[in-house]
């Protein structure tokens, strides 16, 4: 009786260890594959919105205001993402607002709209004078 119990424990442990090892190996392989994929993504960045804004190419994404905004508010927030520490100059018709993108490239500035049409131009300027612009319109109606 005792001999059979010991044998059963041994067989159970062996089988358990084999299955555990199999699962461990499977997990290792999937993790390695994911790391390879993410490395590839860094080497060949895709041009998605908030993805990778390269240091040497001027980039600008304006998240707010949305296109074709009909605003009931006189003041709106212009925000988005550009290269880290870039100068961000926002023109609302001919009125300018100067701000800076932070270390992560995010920027945000409150601007005042004129009643009626407002042509917004957002210019991002890096320390070497390279710039990129985005234009959009907002209509403010009380």
């Amino acid at each position: 009786m005792r001999k059979e119990i010991l044998l059963a424990i041994f067989v159970g442990m062996s089988l358990g260890l084999m299955i555990t090892f199999g699962i461990y190996q499977g997990r290792q392989n999937s993790t390695t594959k994911q790391n390879t994929d993410s490395n590839r993504a860094i080497i060949n960045p895709v041009s998605s919105d908030s993805a990778t804004l390269q240091k040497n190419t001027a980039e600008l994404v304006v998240n707010s205001p949305e296109p074709n905004l009909l605003s009931k508010e006189e003041e709106i927030i212009v925000s988005g993402m550009s290269n880290p520490n870039n100068f961000i100059i926002i023109f609302v018709n001919d009125q300018e607002y100067i701000t800076n993108a932070d270390e992560a490239g995010n920027f945000s500035s409150k601007v005042t709209l004129e009643e009626g049409g407002n042509l917004l131009n957002v210019t991002s300027l890096d320390e070497d004078g390279r710039k990129v612009e985005k234009q959009l319109s907002v209509i403010y109606e009380k």
Partner: protein, 219 residues
């Protein structure tokens, strides 16, 4: 004998379950990359849905330049793209009063107010004619080093490698130190790095709107 077999079987099964369940439990840890990827995808989809929903907001409006006017349609230019607007249901307004379509001049600016029916259908409700010219003035936005500076004019060498630019200073020119606080023209000196925004006037001269120092004043 039969009892021994049952007992052995039970021990084998319980040991197997103990081992595998402990491995499975590890899969549920917070930093599991697969789970993180799933969370990331869910977050992206939430953002997608959010932005999609916002573009479907009921009322939208945009600024456009009139390209062509006919009895049935109005052709406008929006950032270089032309839109043909049917005028069947749209009301044309100016200064709060309804006007006839023939009052709209080519190259004038209008606000086009539309109601979003669904993702592919929009109904133009109102066209507002503006007397203001929204065409952006020609302007310079640059960073560079002050080459010369006088009371009423200056020249700057842009960092971008462009030729030296000459500009004028006027009573509306705003001068700022590096933190954006008001500064005096006497605080600026040659070789100081500056950010300059200037607009072209009617004579083609660039008048400085804002000049901001990019470092502390050392003189």
């Amino acid at each position: 004998m039969k009892n021994k077999i049952y007992l052995s079987f039970a021990i084998i099964v319980s040991l197997l379950l103990t081992n595998t369940s402990s491995v499975m439990a590890e899969e549920n840890v917070e930093n599991n990359p697969t789970l993180n990827n799933i969370r990331k995808v869910i977050q992206e989809k939430k953002v997608e849905l959010g932005s999609g929903a916002s573009t479907l907001r009921k009322n939208q409006a945009y600024l456009a330049k009139v390209v062509r006017v006919s009895a049935e349609t109005l052709t406008v230019s929006v950032q270089g793209l032309q839109n043909v607007i049917p005028l069947d249901s749209a009301q044309v307004m100016q200064d709060g009063k309804e006007i006839t379509i023939d009052k709209l001049a080519v190259d004038s600016w209008v606000g086009v107010f539309e109601e979003v029916i669904d993702e592919n259908n929009k109904k133009i409700n109102k066209i507002v004619a503006y007397s203001k010219d929204f065409e952006p003035k020609e302007r310079i936005v640059t960073v560079g080093s002050l080459r010369t500076i006088g009371r009423n004019d200056l020249s700057i060498t842009p960092r971008s490698g462009e030729e030296e630019l000459k500009m004028s200073l006027g009573k509306n020119s705003v001068l700022q130190d590096m933190s954006g606080e008001t500064a005096k023209i006497s605080q600026f000196y040659e070789d100081l790095q500056c950010l300059i925004i200037a607009f072209a006037d009617d004579n083609g001269n660039y008048m400085i709107s804002t000049m901001r120092a990019l470092s502390t004043f050392e003189k």
